[in-house]
């Protein structure tokens, strides 16, 4: 029996880096018109803190969504940004929730689980997503 028996194989990996300043300019210019295309209502509620929009969180979430879309893209699927919700787990870790058509798209791809990691810098955010 191999030590790898029972482990889920990695089916796809996606990575993305977001220019936080560029995203900020876009959201500053277009406001909710852009936010509503990219984030679910739950996410938009959580993006606002005591000092307004939490820009680092916004860029990180967008990077996670783009990285997730790449895991799907490698399998010929492309879910909407608003069908991918980036939540926060009990330890502060990012967690992906699939909504709407993304649920069936994941089934078609054979994805049962996602692991998400997000990193922030002043001017950028990056995320990597592993689909199992």
């Amino acid at each position: 029996m191999s030590a790898l028996d029972g482990l889920s194989p990695v089916l796809s990996v996606g990575v993305d880096i977001v220019d936080a300043e560029r995203l900020r300019r876009m959201v500053t210019r277009w406001g909710d018109l852009v936010l509503e295309r990219l984030f679910t209502a739950d996410e938009r509620n959580r993006l606002y803190g005591a000092r307004g929009l939490r820009w680092d969180s916004l860029a990180g979430r967008f990077a996670a969504k783009e990285a997730t879309r790449k895991t799907f893209g490698a399998r010929g699927e492309m879910p909407r940004w608003t069908d991918l919700q980036v939540d926060v787990g009990p330890h502060g870790e990012p967690r992906l929730t699939l909504l709407g058509a993304a649920v069936e798209a994941a089934q078609r791809c054979g994805f049962r689980q996602f692991h998400v990691s997000i990193a922030h810098e002043k001017k950028s955010a990056m995320a990597i997503v592993v689909a199992l």
Partner: protein
């Protein structure tokens, strides 16, 4: 005003050079438009027209001509 001229205005507003843009001009390769800018283009088109622009649809378009045809056939927002 034609759809083509509206879209050229949208691109110029986003500081994308429109010299020589025609139906065959490729959005990503020739105009160097990336997915983030396509989101802005979708929003800007809706601000200038009555068309309802689906962001996922617009991401799949290849050329400026594709974009013109898509906007011409897009449902109206209502």
């Amino acid at each position: 005003m034609t759809t083509q001229s509206v879209l050229l205005g949208v691109l110029r507003d986003l500081e994308i050079k429109t010299d020589g843009v025609g139906d065959e001009t490729r959005l990503r390769e020739d105009l160097e438009v990336d997915s983030t800018e396509l989101i802005e283009i979708a929003v800007a088109i809706e601000q200038r027209t009555s068309a309802a622009i689906d962001t996922n649809d617009i991401l799949a378009l290849k050329t400026f001509g594709d974009l013109v045809t898509y906007v011409d056939h897009a449902p109206s927002r209502g």
